[in-house]
Symmetry: C2
Subunit: 423 residues, 2 copies
């Protein structure tokens, strides 16, 4: 392939004409494809149908005779706590089971922090003139939306394959008492697929923070969502924080949204006993307890970590061909042209493409013009502001494989067209 | 029966000796009974087993083909919105379906009000030097706990059979801009069983409030939870508020916790379109949406309001004998003795007993001494402070009928013993 930056005027015109023709063909096909969100497809959801079918679907008593239909159980039924403690790498008393949304638990934790703080000794964040969060970017848009909603100032931090730029994180956290936290998706990060290195985990656990009530929001949404046969390991941050003498620094989150059902999974929060006590003391004002029937279903269906792991292999078998298609099309269409780089994730739900500077919004608009909706430009950055306008998030799991191919070919054509105009 | 206040010294000693003997007998029986909360019993929960069994339990597609297993649907699936709009007496676009807890929706609404206010034009309540709520008392303890948790000053308002003392409510609301709301359980009120009269509803809708962003928290938890064959009607507050030109004054809440499953029901919030838009705009930062599978189950199982109403008759058949037992035992044991008055609710989950002043805590302690746990003294009042120490909340639904009888006999014995010592 030819480096687009070194094309002659003639080559350039010829390539552009071919691309325009291909683009016009896409338009004629009247495609309507939505790739905006990381949603599982129906075949993935079918994998967990056993959870609502037969004996498991009809179960309501725990092995110890607790009636899951009735009130109670603020932090979860014991059987589910044991299973998901294993999942999170914590003890059962370091964990709270929530409703169907871990985002909800994160949102509530920060909203409460604004009104009540995060520990006995510290004032509510909302009483401070300013609260800031470190935001490794590109990152998860909904994390950033929570901060924007609550007026928390976001400081973007560069991301690499091994996690956030820890030199910046350490320097900022040590210097500014208004910096109260950092958002992390430590494994198969949304959208870059980064897996935090052991060194990054250790540095997060050990760094000095000017705010004594600094909290790491550790959204381990893709803990077991592997695409590779030999998945990379992630160091346990809670353990590292304990060893570093900072046991209360981390709030960990997880969910089964992309294990069982996206809309009817279980949300999990974990951390030190002291933190979990702090949270349940406050949750007691909010609810009598989450849906225990759904906890029971999960426990009976998955049984143990082995059950979850073998279930995730079935997910991978469905979605890996889609990720492979994304890679091979990007490779075929763009490699060597010096106009884009993209992630090759070993798990998770996204592929992240970096175009030339100033091209991403135009590419996304062009793709929409031929019927393929991508995540809006800038979404992966604080304030929806991608400073270099170069990041595109691809979510290939939901559409059928053939549609993923069509969409990616179109995206590749759009990237080339916009790049040619830019160069 | 003899008025205890008119007993001779001799009669008094004799009666006391008999009561002490009866109390000692209860102690010998080594009872352990928990009547602290208004929980449905297992037979009631069995009534809704069809919701998790067979085709309904396994359903995941709405009639229009929406996959309830996946993400989406912040305010509820259309079919469930139609059913519960009918239930709440509102239009489908005046309603939001939540998770399994209406308390959660109330809590979140107030917490958001503290941080973000309740309308575009009004400042967040948390920025004011003081926020106050009117609290008709006795009332629902968890309402009061939310206020206490958030530092909202509670002003008790007397309750009568037709609702709160509206003269006080109107006078206070008109005078004090810091009074931002009132808690109401308008039908079969917890714990007195009061049903708000049409006049009270009209006055709430029409009264002048000094705070332009005053909100009525209308927790209609027992809307269809009748014990009587000809249940009393409750005027529709949203409609009344619209007619009064105050359409945004009310947040209505409901739930199926005591219709389907206490721990796995549906929570509902309703109000003006403008209010619901305000709430969903904020909920969008909190969650992708509640559990739609559970909404689908409810819709398929109950079908329509007729389905809910006939289902509630089955509940009544199970719990009415327990309420009847409470009434007949209180009547047999206490009537004419001039030491207690009690509610005769036509629905809901509680019977409220008023003892002589200064007796309630001692009665509750004495009952516990013989193995029957009642709701802690003062629970039904702001700051857990029953100023006259006279209210006892009886929750007869959960224990088996025979246990209800035993517990009520014991309670009656305790009331007599404590009263004798008090007189």
């Amino acid at each position: 392939m030819t480096d687009f930056k070194k094309l002659s005027q003639e080559e350039r015109s010829k390539i552009k004409a071919e691309l325009l023709e291909r683009y016009a063909e896409f338009q004629l096909r009247r495609i309507t494809l939505d790739m905006t969100r990381g949603k599982p497809c129906a075949e993935q959801l079918d994998l967990a149908l056993g959870m609502i079918e037969g004996d498991i679907g009809e179960a309501y008593l725990t092995p110890n005779g607790l009636d899951c239909r009735n009130y109670g159980g603020l932090d979860g039924i014991p059987e589910a706590k044991i299973l998901f403690a294993d999942y999170m790498g914590v003890e059962p008393d370091e964990l709270i089971l929530g409703g169907n949304s871990s985002l909800n638990m994160m949102h509530d934790t920060i909203l409460r922090a604004m009104v009540k703080g995060v520990a006995d000794s510290a004032p509510p964040w909302g009483r401070l003139p300013k609260v800031k969060f470190l935001c490794p970017s590109p990152g998860y848009d909904r994390h950033f939306f929570i901060c924007e909603y609550l007026g928390i100032e976001m400081i973007p931090i560069d991301m690499s394959e091994g996690g956030p730029d820890m030199d910046s994180v350490e320097e900022l956290a040590a210097a500014d008492a208004n910096i109260k936290g950092i958002w992390c998706v430590p494994k198969y990060s949304n959208p870059t697929g980064a897996v935090y290195s052991d060194e990054v985990v250790e540095r997060l656990a050990n760094m000095k923070t000017r705010a004594p009530d600094f909290r790491i929001f550790w959204d381990n949404a893709y803990a077991v969502h592997h695409l590779a046969d030999s998945p990379p390991a992630l160091k346990n941050l809670l353990r590292a924080c304990k060893q570093a003498g900072n046991p209360d620094r981390v709030f960990m989150f997880g969910s089964t949204s992309k294990i069982s059902f996206a809309g009817a999974g279980l949300a999990i929060m974990a951390g030190s006993q002291k933190n979990m006590q702090w949270v349940t003391n406050q949750m007691a004002f909010q609810t009598i307890g989450p849906d225990k029937l759904n906890q029971l279903r999960h426990t009976l269906f998955f049984k143990d970590m082995g059950g979850i792991e073998s279930h995730m292999k079935k997910h991978a078998a469905i979605i890996k061909p889609k990720f492979d298609a994304v890679q091979s099309i990007l490779e075929n269409e763009l490699s060597g042209k010096n106009i884009a780089a993209w992630s090759k994730p070993q798990g998770g739900y996204f592929v992240s493409i970096d175009t030339l500077e100033g091209c991403a919004a135009a590419v996304i608009e062009k793709a929409a013009g031929a019927g393929v909706k991508l995540t809006p430009a800038g979404s992966a950055y604080p304030y929806k502001n991608d400073p270099l306008d170069r990041n595109i998030r691809i979510a290939p799991t939901f559409p059928p494989l053939d549609d993923v191919r069509v969409a990616m070919e179109l995206v590749a054509v759009c990237i080339q067209l916009v790049s040619l105009d830019k160069i």
